[in-house]
Amino acid sequence: MSAALKPEAPAPLVRARDLTVRFVNRDATVHAVNGVDLDLAQGEVLCLLGESGSGKSVTLRALMKLLPRQAKVGGSIEVAGRDVQAMSEGQLADFRGGDIAMIFQEPMTALDPVFTIGRQIAEAVQRHEGVSRSAADARALELLELVQIPSAKRRLAAYPHELSGGLRQRAMIAVALACKPKLLLADEPTTALDATVQIQVLLLLRELQEKLGMGVIFVTHDLGVAGEIADRVAVMYAGRVVEEAAIGPFMGGPMHPYAQGLLGATVHPSMRGKRLTTIPGAPPSLEKEPTSCAFAPRCPTAEPACLAGVPPARLVRPDRMARCIRIPAA
């Protein structure tokens, strides 16, 4: 699908085909990701949007081969031309933090509470670049300045708990950027922040992404956030991408009924005094892999044919993909 969107793209930074992830436990199986194709060009920002449980975080972790052992991963994943599935532990260690890095919603999960910020960044630099300790320390200072931490020099000696939420988020970004990754994976890095800090961190990420020419995959459930940072969005539902489009046209009017529901339910200044539109029902349990349109039971426009099979990914506009049989093809 996105391959079809950009047939001329040279060597994509990320290319995933028919990615599946299932969690197999003794008493149940969760079909978390059910055939996702993703392409990301160098220097491009893709936002993954979607309902809680739709598989956004699991998709991101699969790209980094960072899933627990009971996860069964299928399909192919290439990042920077390398086959991620085939990597050995040693190669993975190199790959993570070298080609690819990840930031999270809760920075405390990524920062070690017993080491200073400066030590953690320098450590990451030394591990991957094998430079001397003093060179790594100098680079740590550069990185804190890069993420615009005020009084960076003093902050090198700070422990994570001594920083405010916004500064911690910046410190985590600095750790992630320590080895100049080509691809940055961001899992809701601004969701826990208040409005003034959120916009600071978003603008910072955008600036760094442009400066360093990084590709970014950014998970969010906030359309406003996507509007500030994305080049393209992919909307997930029940483990599949149901719509993919450039950000401008998408915000102008989503085409898949789930994406329309999502936009309709997003509280907006003009809605004061009006009843909010909601999406009735709940997302499906993923104990079985959905064999028809997973959104059909909640869809205002569903028809019997929607239950006949999984809707194929189709181009509904020259530059837009949707999985919905009711949308006429381009």
Partner: protein, 350 residues
């Protein structure tokens, strides 16, 4: 009055439901080997506010500015260090001798819903037991409390036959938040304090819960204090809005005034931080930079001055008082206070 009927209105419609003046809460920080007090966090430092009957007061402000502490003080989960609270015309914390409303009675009339829907439910109680718990503590029979629980489940849109016997881990996040709301309503409160009630929810579920809150308010004659960092949600749900900065009130007023004519530089920066919702007109510079000052050692004078583009000498020298701007709209800023000495302040008419 039994535990299952709402306490009657005493002061009439013009009497505010809750009037708070000069509320203060400082937290001691202990340190060193002996655990001596080494500093004080001035979490809430002189907050005055009014909640009128039947309205929704939205409360916004940066993380750490004291919103949740204020909520806990309003609930009297925390004892204030200073300040007065008057509920429907009666002093809160009274005794038979002094008059006023006792804490026990007050706590029944004021209930709270927290952000973390999971942590605030007891995992070992079924949903009907959870909702029936407080009424039983207040002397309602088990059967009656259970009936009431079923009514409330229906009122929050959860079929009792399906949900009453389930445990918290057997329902979704949005459903858990509905259960929290049902539980808060079990004692027929008059005031409900909602601390980030939709922040952990999906957008589609958030919309359901907001619609529900609007319906319940009408149905049960409720008054809300609604804390959120989502400025669009606050605009949607509030009649009036209170903006806090570092333990104090920066500005308050009717929702249209605050969103269309914000007067305090902090409020303006806050509103300008909202995403543009238009990828063709993205934000280019953050409206507010720098870190919030430490509430252990707040700046002299106006607490916002260290990050304010309008700051002048007077801002460091004197604490701004609330300047009235229009009916019910006031801002604590020297730049809008007539005669404050700030170069942008309106002149006092002779």
């Amino acid at each position: 009055m039994t535990a299952l009927t709402q306490a009657p209105d005493r002061g009439g419609p013009a009497q505010p439901l809750l009037e708070v003046t000069g509320l203060v809460k400082h937290f001691p920080i202990h340190g060193g080997l002996l655990g001596r007090q080494v500093a004080t966090v001035r979490a809430v430092d002189g907050v005055s506010l009014t909640i009128r009957k039947g309205e929704t007061l939205g409360i916004v402000g940066e993380s750490g500015c004291g919103k949740s502490t204020t909520a806990r003080l309003l609930m009297r989960l925390l004892d204030p260090d200073a300040g007065e609270m008057v509920f429907d015309g009666e002093q809160v914390g009274g005794t038979d001798q002094t008059g006023g409303v006792t804490l026990r009675d007050y706590r029944r009339q004021v209930q709270m819903v927290f952000q973390d829907s999971y942590a605030s439910l007891n995992p070992r109680l079924t949903i009907e037991e959870t909702i029936a718990f407080s009424p039983q503590v207040h002397g309602v029979s088990g059967r009656e409390a259970r009936e009431r629980a079923h009514e409330l489940l229906a009122a929050v849109g959860l079929a009792p036959a399906q949900f009453a016997r389930r445990y918290p881990h057997e329902v979704s996040g949005g459903q858990r938040q509905r259960i929290n709301i049902a539980r808060a309503l079990a004692l027929q409160p008059r005031l409900v304090i909602l601390d980030e009630p939709v922040s952990a929810l999906d957008k589609s579920v958030e919309a359901q819960v907001l619609n529900l809150l609007v319906d319940l308010k009408e149905k049960f004659g409720l008054t809300y204090a609604f804390i959120s960092h989502d400025l669009n949600v606050v605009q949607y749900i509030s009649d009036r809005v209170l903006v806090m900065y570092l333990g104090q009130v920066a500005e308050q007023g009717p929702v249209e005034e605050i969103y269309e004519r914000p007067a305090h530089p902090y409020t303006r920066a806050l509103l300008a931080s909202r995403p543009s919702m238009d990828p063709a007109k993205r934000r280019t510079a953050p409206p507010l930079t720098g870190d919030p000052p430490n509430p252990v050692n707040p700046p002299s004078g106006c607490r916002f001055r260290t990050r304010c583009t309008l700051a002048e000498d007077v801002c460091a020298q004197r604490v701004p008082v609330a300047a009235p701007l229009s009916a019910g709209h006031e801002a604590a800023c020297h730049a809008v206070m007539p005669g404050s000495g700030h170069s942008a302040a309106p002149r006092i008419a002779a």
